[in-house]
Point group: C2
Chain length 214, copies 2
């Protein structure tokens, strides 16, 4: 047991991502939740991406903060949950926490609040997107990563730098996909998802939140 | 001490609201949180109001459920928090809980979620309004009642029956007032509130939530 764990840790600590040549000029990059030292190594291999987004977790906040702070200086979009935002900033109020994080480097901070949706903070602007209220949440696993995937897919397709109207549309798209993925086990709901399914849920989101066009 | 408590309980149990004649033809009525037997007594004194809204709390759910169910049969708009909705319906999922409550009589159910805002359920439609993210919440006391006051004030002024677009606008107005009242102690923030202050926060709410007009 102890030997197995040591072997696993060795594999993990020896892991050094080596990006294939074709990936090095990626325009949109998502640094998923992993050791910030590896996130830095990935950043160093990239040829000036247009948009870098980043996820992290409490473990790195507590155990690799210096490296994480170096990552944040190079990130456009930080995607964290509310507890991570609080721990990173060292303050409980979520508006204060987000504003403190904006001073660490990220141009925008997205705070995921599970069933309550997402808050997005830009300098001088906030955006709130509720989660879609569902009668059945079959399996919430992967909802946060699906949100991030939809978010970045939308920004990549729009050729956008992750601010303003494009960011809001991307948050809506990520929220739509996350609301669908939890309806079945794992990522199965995404396998047979059609553009019409996505558009139908997007329209439902618009109806859910609309008091602008009344 | 014991005598004082008994006296207080006697006063409470002997309290029978007797509406002044001028109040009996009120068009819009809010049955605030009190013994459902008294809410029923108030309803019996009214001459066919256009809109009846109702609040309640866990204590009555546990200790006066039969009377409360008789109240709900005569209510247009139930305003409760998420825990009360769950306890009333006996189901955890908030969509299922709201739909179960709609079957008990109320034409609409508004579920307050504190710092996360409000969900409104009508037959076949949902509306989500986030709370305004504030850097300082000085005192949350009275936020729920301020929300209800703003909600009903808006519906009364619009001559509305509490559905559709008028309900959404009313929820926005209640949310605006609630977001202001928590900025100072008690209800003091309301004392010197100007129409311009209210409109400014309403515009901030529109900016906070807008991905409809992009």
């Amino acid at each position: 047991m102890r030997d197995t764990l040591d072997t696993q840790l060795n594999v993990l600590t020896q892991f050094q991502p080596d990006l294939p040549a074709a990936y090095r000029d990626s325009e949109v990059v998502f640094l998923a939740n992993i050791d910030p030292a590896l996130q830095l190594s990935v950043l160093d291999q990239l040829k000036g991406p247009r948009l870098v987004a980043c996820d992290t977790m409490n473990f790195w906040l507590a155990n690799a903060r210096p490296a994480l702070l170096r990552v944040l200086e190079r990130v456009d979009l930080l995607v964290v949950n509310d507890e991570e935002a609080r721990e990173l900033a060292g303050v409980h109020n979520i508006v204060k926490a987000a504003n403190a994080i904006l001073k660490l480097g990220p141009k925008r901070v997205l705070v995921k609040r599970g069933e309550y949706g997402v808050l997005a903070f830009e300098p001088g602007a906030m955006f709130a997107m509720p989660a879609y209220p569902l009668e059945e949440v079959f399996d919430p696993t992967g909802a946060g990563d699906t949100f991030a995937g939809g978010l970045l897919g939308s920004l990549a397709r729009a050729g956008a730098n992750g601010s303003g109207a494009a960011l809001r549309r991307a948050i809506a798209h990520g929220s739509v996909l996350a609301s669908l993925v939890v309806e079945r086990f794992g990522l199965r709901r995404l396998w047979d998802l059609s553009p019409a399914d996505i558009e139908a849920r997007r329209q439902a989101f618009l109806r859910l939140t609309d008091f602008h066009t009344l």
